[in-house]
Symmetry: C3
Subunit: 677 residues, 3 copies
């Protein structure tokens, strides 16, 4: 449980009373009650208010807010406000301002604007966190700390350059080792002095965001930037823990956000929280995958849905309204996948600046007689009804999909073989097929303990870090099913190719050698032709993107290419390895192949979906003690029937006991409690 003061699914969101006059605060109180809101994230962007000048701190307004909220039954998720520095600080200490990717020193503006290696920023952000912790450590309303906000963006200033060199010295010890790791003999880039190293941006080694001359320095700079911001977070964390060692601390993450290695971050967070902003056209299985990734950051611990919009966003191209029922549906999707909170950005819509068209529980009209408020209030009532029942419940998946930020950086920075390779999309292809079968999946890091799983899938495992191959071998030898794909096993963690034949360190596990890698133009494709019938698979499927030209070295060939000069070469192989089996998918298949392929794999391991799911219906399960909670979420507009088998289950929101076939209303949700099976 996040905090025992509030033993239920938290319900609330970002609240900015400082933007409003006192008479509005009364209205807030009244409407929060109507909506069943019990937590408010406060002080997110109040640094300038908390510290109006270098030597002055002023918490009068925050005192008022904390007290007022508490008195009306609303707890505080208290932010440290360091997501944007004050204007006075930018003017007085320009070192807080970033130098951007184009090499330009920025001026005051925006948010997420501080250089993570600025001495000024580090000093004053930690100081503020400490002052807040000291002041509110005993406030009865305080339930969690929220450090900064949506960390992100990189800086390329001289302080970062200096920090980077120090970090490199620590990492490599000597320039010899660094030159080797970055292969600087290429293009004569040998460094003879640490000071010769400059950050890789458009003035030096990179261009276009993700294009680089030297993958080594570019991947290391991403590591360093993720590390630098994490250092800032940790400085604040330490200050807070001095005063409130028992109150949890988080910072809000952003799902598949590319710039930070969240697996590293999660190690230093008491609980993961994240901001969920799908668009009208985001596949709901992609949202589900993101929830599962956020849950995977701390090996399955429940997380917080820190932000979502009640109605619409402002920063998308076409900010369509969430259709009736969708906010509720997506809220339960989060809960079904591990969230113990449902929180919004924002409780009341601001009237000026760039987020004024971002939806809120209280719209500009200001009263409760809106569709959006009614839906929020209904959900508030339901969450009250659910109470603490679901808190701390966990997911127990037998299938894991490996996702790795550093692998992603390496793939995105790679020059060749194709610009069309999107790591996250390839991961999603596998996830989506399992999702549609109702098979539970954990999204895990390369460091995760694989022994919990029957199947581990590592799509495009391009970068194989130290120890990973041995671990995958151990897992397979012990009976596991391991799956990987084209463009895997190519490089080590410095992006240096493992010579001797692809897929490098994974070669003996997979029992194949990939001689060449063909990149297909978007209008071209090839075929996966099965050598013999396998489960319900058809004879042939389309594939494309990349085609590894592989030779078996012990692996059994399940399917061959159907055309081009490598027609007849293997495209799908399986290698018996100890008690387990290792599959290699040498190209990127279409969705229908993926469905059949993964169905066969699950059947081999006796893994079943949670239910036979009609199109558009999602299933997820949380377990706790002897109870299990089956969520059925209908993303269709019309009702759907789902067979849940015999044995009565209690639908938590209606109290009805159901069995056999249940009807899930359009955009509706069932939460079926039963004894653990």
């Amino acid at each position: 449980m996040i905090n025992e003061k509030l033993p239920k699914i938290w319900y609330g969101g970002d609240y900015n009373p400082e933007q409003w006059d006192a008479e509005i605060w009364k209205e807030d109180e009244r409407m929060f009650k109507l909506a069943g809101i019990d937590v408010a994230t406060v002080n997110v962007f109040s640094w300038a208010l908390n510290q109006p000048s270098e030597d002055t701190y002023d918490f009068a307004q925050l005192d008022e807010t904390m007290d007022r909220l508490y008195k009306s039954g609303v707890y505080a998720c208290l932010a440290t406000s360091t997501g944007a520095h004050p204007a006075w600080m930018a003017k007085k200490y320009p070192d807080v301002l970033r130098v951007d990717y184009q090499g330009r020193k920025r001026k005051f503006g925006g948010r997420h604007n501080s250089c993570p290696n600025s001495p000024t920023y580090r000093k004053y952000s930690a100081l503020l966190a400490g002052k807040l912790a000291e002041r509110y450590k005993d406030h009865p309303g305080l339930v969690i700390w929220h450090i900064s906000n949506e960390y992100g963006g990189y800086c390329y200033c001289d302080n970062c350059a200096e920090g980077f060199r120090n970090w490199l010295q620590e990492r490599y010890g000597s320039l010899d080792r660094l030159n080797k790791a970055w292969n600087t003999r290429f293009w004569g880039h040998t460094f003879y002095d640490w000071d010769e190293i400059v950050p890789p941006n458009e003035l030096s080694e990179e261009w276009g965001g993700n294009r680089t001359n030297f993958q080594g320095i570019s991947i290391d700079y991403r590591r360093f930037m993720s590390h630098s911001m994490l250092e800032c977070y940790k400085l604040e964390y330490a200050e807070i823990k001095k005063h409130t060692p028992n109150i949890p601390v988080t910072t809000n993450l952003m799902g598949f956000y590319p710039e930070l290695n969240y697996f590293e971050w999660a190690k230093h967070m008491d609980i993961v929280s994240w901001d969920n902003y799908p668009s009208l056209d985001t596949p709901f299985s992609f949202t589900a995958m993101t929830h599962d990734l956020m849950r995977g950051l701390k090996s399955g611990d429940p997380f917080m849905l820190m932000e979502q919009t009640p109605s619409q966003q402002n920063w998308q191209a076409y900010n369509s309204l969430k259709r009736p029922g969708v906010m509720r549906l997506w809220s339960y999707q989060a809960v079904a996948r591990g969230a113990d909170t449902v929180m919004f950005f924002q409780l009341r819509r601001s009237i000026g600046a760039c987020e004024k068209y971002h939806g809120a529980v209280i719209e500009h009209v200001g009263h409760e007689h809106t569709r959006v408020f009614r839906e929020c209030a209904e959900l508030g009532r339901e969450l009250e009804l659910l109470g603490g029942k679901l808190l701390d419940a966990r997911t127990e998946a037998k299938v894991a999909i490996v996702y790795d930020w550093e692998n992603r950086w390496a793939i995105e920075l790679s020059s060749g073989p194709t610009v069309a390779l999107n790591y996250v999309s390839e991961v999603h292809k596998y996830y989506d097929a399992l999702f549609k079968m109702g098979v539970e999946v954990d999204m895990v890091s390369v460091e995760e303990d694989f022994s919990k799983y029957d199947i581990v899938i590592a799509p495009v495992m391009y970068m194989v870090k130290q120890g990973f191959a041995a671990k995958a071998e151990r897992f397979t030898a012990n009976g596991g099913t391991f799956v990987t794909t084209f463009f895997s096993g190519i490089v080590n963690e410095n992006d240096l190719v493992t010579t001797g034949g692809y897929p490098g360190e994974l070669r003996s596990l997979l029992g194949i050698w990939a001689e060449e890698i063909d990149a297909l133009f978007p209008e071209h494709n090839n075929q996966i032709v099965l050598k013999q019938p396998w489960g319900g698979l058809k004879d042939s499927y389309e594939c494309g993107l990349l085609c590894d030209l592989i030779h078996t070295e012990g692996a059994e060939v399940l399917a061959e290419y159907g055309s081009d000069f490598y027609k007849g070469m293997p495209v799908l192989t399986v290698n018996q390895y100890g008690k387990g089996r290792a599959y290699y998918v040498a190209s990127s298949p279409d969705a229908s192949f993926m469905a059949g392929f993964l169905k066969n794999l699950c059947e081999e391991k006796g893994i079943k979906g949670l239910a036979a799911l009609p199109d558009g219906v999602e299933a997820a399960r949380r377990v706790k003690g002897n109870a299990e909670y089956l969520f059925l979420l209908n993303h269709n507009s019309e009702a759907s029937q789902v067979a849940i088998g015999e044995g009565g289950r209690t639908e938590l929101l209606s109290g009805a006991v159901v069995s056999g076939s249940v009807t899930v209303p359009g955009k509706g949700v069932l939460i079926l409690e039963s004894e653990r099976q």
Copy 2:
């Protein structure tokens, strides 16, 4: 009349003898005569020639030009030359060089290149204007002053930053008021010192040209830049007026150019002039609308067509030739809509630099035996024939469409609800429907006196400035028909939302409340379904872009949405308000709805088109004393018939007296004089 020295429609254009040797000047004289040219715009880019160094002025060549032209019967539109500073000035006084949107200090190059807050530029531009005025004040050839050239572009240098702060201090008085107006509590941007404020560009609050974090500062910076350039203009204006108080002064504007608030500028111009450069694929109703806007800048006063090309442009992607007759047709389109001059850029084509492929009366071949010259000479003869008849004639429209530059800035800077909203296109939709009916329209500012009109249409009146709502109410209460649309009445002039329900200050006038605003993906649409037959309207039409979800608060519902979850909610309403009616169009309709809708509105007010127009034929009217002049312009390649009713009218160019049905030749023009009806 612009100047009594030349009591006819002026005919001429930009003339650059300084680019040519003296022997060419003789040819110019001969050919100007052949073409009927009687005015030349001179000295437009001659600052470096007029002032070869800081302390030297040299007007010898200009003296020669002025005298020579006058002797051959050509009057001078005398430019002050300050549209581009000399290279020596850029080198000696870098403060004249701008800092661009990307934050880069520019070097010498281009034109429209001076910082409007540069002390050097302000000093020397005013000085030059004064010297020119003093020198030529009594020159018999001088008929008008032309300050600078096509003002535009923004600067973000330190002088501008300083100027901006001063301007803000004047506007807001205190930082408290400024912080409130910009809602700086959002993202903790509170300013405690004026010096903390920096111009909003890619280094601070903006990106991508029209994307911003803070609409408040961004709109104010546009105001300030428009103001700063206007200040430069006014400094020159004042210098000129000291010497020639009775000679009119203008500067050439550019139609819907987004960066300057021309309504403010027009207040300081003796006559509006503008440069008209449609492309082959510009709808001719768009050009007509632009003329009407230019006429509207000074409430209907005749204006100057300062520039157009006789044949082709150089800076468009595909610079197609104006087809035979088109130059004449478009010239008369300008005259029909209020122009008292027809002028070209340029009289003789330059041979070097970027405009050498811009058309000219005298082509590179240098002689008069070209299609282009022949067409120019024919037009010259016709304008001679017309004499002063049309001068000072005015348009008397009963329909006004409101256009506002600051509203445009606010819409374009808005983050949400949709990137697809184009204010000018929405305005043009209404204009185009009226244009096709032959209904006369004035394009007016929000400050215009509405009492002249029967119908006032204010499409997407997003920003409602102080006093506008009361004025619209007064207009309607007195019997007018007021029309506005989705995304109107949302913010005040600081872009702060009017809380309490959209459309804010316009809510009681319209008798509706817009609860939500749905943004549609480009591939989606909705329908306008009429509740009962209305005029010749069909049952149903397509609409899209944005859909306001409105509730009537007294307004009558004329049509409802046809699909989606808001099917059945109002999409078109009318509210009886005093003696008048206020319409609200809650989505962006297709052209066929617009035609029928506006036809009904005009019929309600007894407004008729000038004629029943076949496709591709344009009608416009100017009136003067007891006479009226009906222009029929045929944009088709084939002849068209137009019924003009009985009662003989004299066609001015042929002298023929016509009635009943007249034939307008392909690309042809009729100017029909009659007694005012």
Copy 3:
């Protein structure tokens, strides 16, 4: 012969032993032997290795490499390593770092990164070249010098600005002449002091890479940059020649690379070499044309294929594998068109940085059992078989196509008449039609001796330099057939229009006057309608892009426009001029017209194709002494039949004697030796 030490077609490529440990070097030796490799390009990016600090030089590794290679029968193409400066130099002497087009001072990174006017770069690059020459002048393995690598990119720093001013002073003598040449009276850009001139980039006169306000300064800056880099090359060349006057010197060019005027460069190169990187979708006639251009740089002298990939590239969007046989086919295409070497980038794939996915003879797997290696080894055997037979053989074409870099710059920089005009594409249209007929073509400069040719085609000869018109007239008067097109004869070498009527200096030769130039939108076109039957031409063809509106002034009209207002005006004319004929093609025709038109022209001059070619088959011929070598290259996947006439020819690779109809296998090559005909 490039060097008598190696009297055969050289076979090898780039070799970077410094990236590998010594044990790999042994493998290299073994595998080079297997592949028949006899030349290695070494030391290309070793500046940092050769000169680890300002005062230290270290050639130990290079000594080892040179000796080792020589001992195993591999000769050295020895590079000077100056294509990328060391990191220490960038830090110590920032003047070596460029300022980019955006005006930003760069930091260390990338390659081709040195300012060509940096005193430091010039000093140390020449010094290094001298040291290398001195050290290896007597090395028995040394066969050719390779200066720097793929020169390119521009710099805009203060040293370049200063150098530019000096270059301009030399070129123009006085500011008066410069002001005239650049037409600076336009927009008042008159310069009164040389120091007022700044390089044209995004801070001054240019934007978007090829958009400019002043063509004069922009073309001159391109000339100056090409000249500046050539100066760097010449400094190294001079140092080398001091020590090894008899060893040839080259630098690797890049085909149609736009930034350098290779015709000027070739004057200072002992032999031309270039890097050939077609994509899967590059037309093979385009590659052929590029080979012909490279051969044309030194008026037909054989050249070196310095780089190609054995399998795939890394920097294209989709790096498809070269299909089986294609590497061999494309290698022989180079030889067929004048190459005396077949060389790869690279011999062994690097394992780190951005080119690790660029193909190599030795792949990452490291052994010889790969498709790529097998194909390389087979080709190596064939080249051994061919021996020196083809060396120094030349091409004898009767048709020349003129290509000019400065003309290209002027066209690309032109503002108007259309953005769609692509000079190289227009040139390729003519080339492609002749290529498909098997007609031999030389790609020549405007300075080439035309008297060797029967037909000279100068497509879009926009810029007519001093002497060109007279030369074309002489050529035609003497019986030649001259062809040019729309948008020709417009400007002189300063991009100043030749007044008096287009096509300016070419007008009397062509016997026409182009009155206007219409630019067509992409979706529009016109027709070429023949006035009477001509050869096998149809009645009518499509044309587009630009349409000159021409009048005949003596020329015979062969075809007229088929539509628009200039229907019936000439679109194709021929002018009898002395003993010859001058054709003018007033628009851009489709491929079918081009084929028929050029067929007729060739027939008029009795020029025949090398063979009647089926689709996809290419023919080329080299002659030497009394022998001729006919190459038949089949780009199809299936075999094709080609009739080669009677009289036996020996196929060099098989030794078979063939006549009549021969079969060229799919992707196959025949080299048919016969007595010269």
